[in-house]
Amino acid sequence: MTKVFTRPKSLTDKPFHYCPGCTHGIVHRLVAEAIDELGIREKTIGVAPVGCAVFAYEYFNCDMQEAAHGRAPAVATGIKRVLPDRVVFTYQGDGDLAAIGTAEIVHAATRGENITVIFINNAIYGMTGGQMAPTTLIGQVTATTPYGRDPGKAGYPIRMSEMLATLEGSAYIERVSVHDIKHINQAKRAIKKAFETQLAGKGFSMVEVLSTCPTNWGMTPVEALKWLEQNMIPCYPLGVKKEGK
């Protein structure tokens, strides 16, 4: 018998600290698989965010930098400009990328910075205990929208992929989900393609992954996947948002 599914080499042995059923783990694995398959682990440098994925540097088996909250695209820019032949990726949550890090992601994209961004949209701030994210759905109850997100006061969910797709420097942007096997496979293809975009020197690539936070959504992991499918996807349509040149 041969192994048909095994732990990717680009993950360390360290068990994830994520909550049970948290899809951060799935996406970590997909990223690692893509890196393995492209054979680029030795030349990949990852940038971890501040968010639940803050310990990503302990999981990805490549050189890593831990960025300040929201600044991963700037940090990645610094690395990539020094080492243009290396592969540089960031892994960021929606608080990190779509709130405090808005300027950094917009300008990395408009600069056409040749990096890959893995963007975890779980509609909430996980690490700090379930506050509203810019991606929180209308009506969604969080620690800082106790009466449900009211767009009149707290604004509307932000579609980062669509917004960044308007920028000339973005080369490849796709939104995927990991709520079932079919979508996990599609997510994997997208992530791989994002890295390939970078390898081809085409510029900024980003994959937005709709994800769950069972803990702060107050659901079981299984319920959370269902909620994602039923509530997030209608608000955040899946698919390729940009595919350049």
């Binding site: 930098q65 831990e66 960025a67 700037a74 940090v75 400009r81 020094v82 290396r86 300027a103």
Partner: protein, 357 residues
């Protein structure tokens, strides 16, 4: 090598390039705009890279990334922009990354003005960012010294894996003086950057640039280790100029541009038969504490006076060093006003009058 006449800002930029700096991330702000402009022009010529970042926050985090990748890298700004870099600086110090940061100080607080000031002394030396850390702070007084300190600054940064700040002011940045780009007098053995994230090929441990230590005990150990490094820096890197201190009745403490003005005052005072000394800290952190201690013990020194372009910041370090042995006075102008020699002199006379009374 021959001398060239250069603006302070441009000389600082050129010095960085000569020191091997190939990456610059910055954002425009008066009065340091010549630094990014010079870098934008020169770096492509030497195979380097200039980026005008979208903000000072981004710039300092690009510096973080580039420094973590092993490069010699610089950023520069002026007061409000430096405030925005405080989180990043704290991260860089926490992750022990070498880099050089220039602050061409202008009047504050807030938007303030664009004329020269020294009112960011506290921010620079006590840690404007959060947590326990220090920048090495170098305060040049002439453009030649700025050039020399920038070049040495990169070495200091690399040797100790700590950010180095060049604290100038608008005047130093805008003025021109002859300057020579010369090799550093003391060559340091610099450690290889084996810790840099350049790709994990397996021939060394996996490299991680990080300042997070969720276990408080680990964080404390980390901080204490950094502070041991600081003790080394204090031992090895203090720079100070003593000028006319022998026989001085009063010793003025001043740094940067202000120290130049004080030198004019000292010459003037001499002509009037008054003996004034100057202790000019060149490293603001580490502060030349023992120099002050020593002179404070001399009989002939009756008092100290800190002269600054601020409401009184370095004077605290002077007091801490003198530690009550002699009275310590302060004279300052702020908001972009430059102290006038005559005004300083008359302050000195007042103090001498008071002390000898």
């Amino acid at each position: 090598m021959s001398k060239v006449l250069m603006k302070g800002n441009e000389a600082i930029a050129e010095a960085a390039i000569q020191a091997g700096c190939r990456y610059f991330f910055g954002y425009p702000i008066t009065p340091q705009n010549e630094i990014p402009a010079y870098m934008a022009k020169r770096l492509p010529e030497v195979g380097g890279c200039f980026i005008q970042a979208e903000s000072e926050v981004s710039a300092i985090n690009m510096v973080y990334g580039a420094a973590g990748a092993g490069a010699r890298v610089m950023t520069s700004s002026s007061s409000p922009g430096i405030s925005l870099k405080q989180e990043g600086l704290s991260y860089i110090a926490g992750a022990e990354l070498p880099c050089v940061v220039v602050n061409m100080v202008r009047g504050g607080p807030g938007l303030g003005g664009i004329q020269p000031a020294q009112s960011d002394y506290f921010q620079a030396t006590k840690g404007g960012g959060h947590g326990d850390y220090h920048l090495v702070v170098l305060a040049p007084s002439t453009i030649q010294e700025a050039v020399d300190l920038v070049m040495e600054g990169f070495d200091i940064a690399d040797q100790y894996r700590n950010p180095v700040m060049i604290l100038g002011d608008g005047m130093l940045g805008q003025m021109m003086e002859p300057v020579e780009f010369r090799p550093l007098s003391s060559k340091r053995e610099l450690p290889l950057k084996t810790w840099a994230t350049t790709g994990y090929t397996g021939d060394r441990p996996r490299n991680i640039i990080n300042s997070l230590f969720i276990d408080p005990q680990a964080l404390e150990e980390h901080v204490k280790r950094i502070y041991q490094k600081y003790e080394e820096i204090k031992k090895n890197e203090v720079k100070v100029e003593c000028y006319n201190c022998e026989d001085a009745e009063i010793i003025v403490a001043a740094y940067g541009t202000t120290a130049r003005i004080v030198k004019s005052v000292i010459q003037k005072a001499k002509r009037e038969g008054i003996n004034v000394g100057l202790i000019r800290p060149i490293t603001l952190w580490p502060f030349p504490t023992s120099t002050f201690e020593e002179w404070a013990q001399r009989e002939h020194v009756k008092a100290f006076m800190s002269v600054e372009m601020s409401m009184g910041q370095m004077v605290e370090d002077v007091r801490l060093s003198v530690n009550g042995r002699k009275p310590v006075y302060f004279y300052g102008r702020t908001g972009g006003m430059v102290p006038e020699p005559n005004a300083i002199l008359s302050e000195i006379k007042k103090v001498i009058g008071g002390v000898s009374r």
